[in-house]
């Protein structure tokens, strides 16, 4: 199958079109593109638009096949075809340095490698579950298999696979990353309380060893502590020790904080905010007798604006009825809706049904005058239930596979119906062939 046959299969009538084209002297996609559309349409008995479309498809197929065409000599390349791309791995070679740059001798390369020492790497062991899942170099055979032998064993299908070039140095050396685990444990936590605690610890040690008087504690020289790396920023949380002693010994906590401030000032360190701010107040709580108090609860006010009743609002309210409603304490549509219909109808001396109509009209008025709330769409079942509460119309009968044992109205019992069903299953399975073909696979 050449490209022209492929085109005929994809966009025409297959071998018949191919045969017609070949008879007309059209042997390739290029020949087809160079044909006149009118002549092609006339010859293939197509419309001119179809012939133009076939030529357009030929052009596209030629462009698509040009880098894939295995036998370029068999099929002349289309005028519009792109130059073949070098995509095989055999032709992929390491990029050569630009010509204007001087080539580096091996000694220079070694010197470069020496000048750029590898940054210290912290290798953290993985947890056992993850460590087991990583590829291990020992899993693979260390002996190298020659490529020719691998091809003979069928492990390589192509000769194009070449050895990956070894880089003498990393193209992009990783930037040094300071991780939390890399910091020394002696690195100070930058807070006033920590400085104070450290000063207090040193002071206590000094007191124990040199028996300095307690009054001289403030004069103890606190060694300067180095500031942490500026690249690392800590969000200091309240130190647990100070937070624990602060409520019980506020004076001690305050002393530690003052000691920390003094130590920081002596060491020339920048002043820090006190963390935590300890404020302890002693509150004496007396027993309070709780007496039950009756509180009148008012009805929550409507969030929407009240809709006053007026003549004709809602429909059916005349002046007499409006006065009677106001006399009964109902002046808004909301109050009319929420009023007890039966009692109100007795008070107003109107039929209960008319009051219901009024309440419904008031409800509509109330809804119109307030913001419309989108209603939740109701399901089909809910609509059926609303229109047919008893379910006498929409209730579906359950389908059962078993037949009733009782004789039906037609006088046929379950046995005869089941037999009929079995027979229909047998006869529906396969239709006989139309002609006299006997002995098919299902015979």
């Amino acid at each position: 199958m050449n490209a022209l046959a492929l085109l005929c299969t994809l966009h025409a009538d297959g071998p018949s079109t191919l045969h017609a084209l070949r008879t007309a002297g059209c042997q390739s996609l290029l020949d087809l593109q160079e044909c006149s559309s009118n002549e092609l349409a006339q010859y293939l008995e197509l419309s001119v638009a179809s012939a133009e479309r076939l030529q357009r498809e030929a052009e596209l197929l030629g462009m698509r096949l040009s880098p894939l065409e295995p036998e370029a000599s068999v099929e002349p390349r289309s005028k519009l075809s792109l130059p073949p791309k070098e995509t095989t791995p055999a032709e992929l070679t390491p990029a050569e340095p630009p010509a204007d740059l001087p080539e580096e001798t091996p000694d220079e390369v070694e010197a470069l490698v020496e000048e750029e020492p590898e940054p210290p790497r912290v290798i953290k062991p993985l947890p056992p579950a993850l460590a087991g899942s990583r590829a291990n170099r020992s899993w693979f055979s260390a002996t190298r298999i020659p490529q020719a032998a691998a091809q003979a064993r069928g492990e390589f299908g192509r000769t194009a696979i070449t050895e990956e070039p070894q880089l003498e140095r990393a193209a992009n050396p990783p930037a040094p990353v300071l991780e939390f685990e890399e910091l020394s444990e002696e690195a100070p936590i930058e807070s006033t309380a920590c400085r104070g605690l450290e000063a207090a610890r040193i002071a206590v040690e000094t007191l124990a060893t040199e028996s300095v008087a307690p009054s001289e504690v403030s004069e103890v020289q606190v060694p300067a502590v180095e500031a942490p790396s500026p690249a690392v920023t800590y969000v200091t949380e309240p130190e647990p020790e100070l937070a624990r002693i602060a409520p019980e010994f506020p004076e001690l906590a305050e002393a530690i904080l003052r000691l920390g401030e003094a130590a920081g000032a002596r060491a020339g360190l920048p002043a820090l905010t006190r963390l935590p701010e300890v404020t302890v107040e002693a509150v004496e709580v007396e027993a309070v007798a709780i007496e039950p108090v009756e509180v009148e609860t008012a009805e929550p006010e409507s969030t929407g604006t009240a809709t006053p009743l007026a003549l004709g609002q809602p429909d059916g309210i005349d002046s007499e009825l409006l006065e009677a409603l106001r006399a009964a304490g109902i002046s808004t549509a909301e109050a009319l809706v929420e009023a007890s219909g039966l009692e109100l109808s007795r008070v107003l001396s109107i039929p209960f049904t008319r009051l219901l109509e009024l309440q419904l009209a008031a409800q509509h008025l109330f809804r119109r005058s307030n913001t419309l709330v989108p209603q939740k769409p109701r399901s089909r079942r809910a609509l059926d239930r609303a229109s047919d509460p008893s379910g006498s119309i929409t209730k579906k009968r359950r389908h059962t596979d078993s037949y009733s044992a009782q004789p039906t109205a037609t006088g046929r019992d379950a046995e005869s119906l089941a037999q009929e069903a079995r027979e229909s299953e047998l006869t529906d399975a396969f239709d006989a062939p139309p002609s006299g073909n006997v002995g098919g696979p299902f015979a």
Partner: protein, 269 residues
């Protein structure tokens, strides 16, 4: 006699349908055609309405050296059929203990080579099995059936490598051709796969492409070739085109064999 084997490592790619209907197309134009069912599933046998459970089959030839003339049956569409049964799996089991078990079919077909113009072998979906080895030993042309679906091209390439290795081992001359099947022009994926197959196999691919057709399924269900069911359908025309190419290929090959100056290819390149 020209012997064509329909093969692919992948199952369900249309080997049996192509073999049965190509045999029908060749027989319809008067060529004496024998279809050999080498698949223990016996789908080609069933597709021609022949149930071989109660008669002799290809397994009797391969296992017990039965006479091939007594096993061949007449099938619909003017095709002669060498039916299969699941006893062929027994031959697969005992073949390891027998000498020259891969040339049993070739030896049997040699007895009837003057009686037929075309012998079409329907191989099981396993190229490295003993049944397919028998087919490769007996055939002069292997038709790789490539469906227009995922993994089809990979399966065809794998089968091609194995077939070429088999031919090189025996120093046997056969040609490999590729037939695209189950092609649906409306599907972009099918178009892309056909373009990829054409780019890979080029002129070794048949111009004829077998399209997806319900008529082919119906013909198999009725137990007849598609020419018997409806000779005007597109599927029948596809196999007509394929039969044209097969006959042209056979004539070309015959011409090559008859001229000693042009040696036939040892194996396809």
């Amino acid at each position: 006699m020209h012997t064509l084997a329909f093969a692919n490592q992948k199952g369900g790619c249309g080997k049996t349908t192509s073999a049965v209907n190509l045999a029908g197309a060749l027989a319809a134009r008067g060529a004496r055609t024998l279809l050999v069912d080498l698949d223990p599933q016996a789908h080609a046998t069933m597709a021609l309405s022949c149930a071989a459970e109660h008669g002799s089959s290809l397994a009797d030839i391969l296992l017990y050296n039965a006479e091939i003339e007594r096993v061949i049956r007449s099938a619909p569409g003017g095709i002669d059929l060498l039916p299969a049964t699941d006893a062929l799996t027994e031959f697969e089991e005992v073949s390891a203990r027998r000498m020259h078990s891969d040339s049993c079919l070739a030896a049997a077909l040699r007895r009837v080579e003057r009686a037929y113009d075309f012998v079409i072998l329907d191989c099981p979906p396993r190229v490295d099995g003993i049944l397919c080895a028998n087919a490769l030993a007996a055939c002069d042309t292997v038709i790789l059936v490539v469906e227009s679906g995922a993994f089809a091209l990979q399966g065809a390439l794998k089968a091609q490598r194995m077939i070429e290795a088999s031919g090189a081992d025996r120093d046997q001359a056969f040609d490999i051709r590729v037939l695209a099947t189950m092609f649906d022009r409306r599907l972009r994926i099918a178009q892309d796969l056909l373009i990829g197959t054409q780019a890979r196999f080029g002129d070794r691919m048949f111009d004829a492409v077998i399209h997806t057709s319900v008529r082919l399924r119906e013909a198999a269900a009725y137990g007849v070739p598609v020419h018997e069911l409806d000779a005007k359908t597109r599927a029948a025309r596809d196999f007509e085109n394929l039969a044209d190419e097969v006959q042209a290929h056979a004539a070309r090959r015959e011409q090559e064999l008859s001229s000693p100056a042009e040696p036939s290819p040892i194996h396809s390149s």
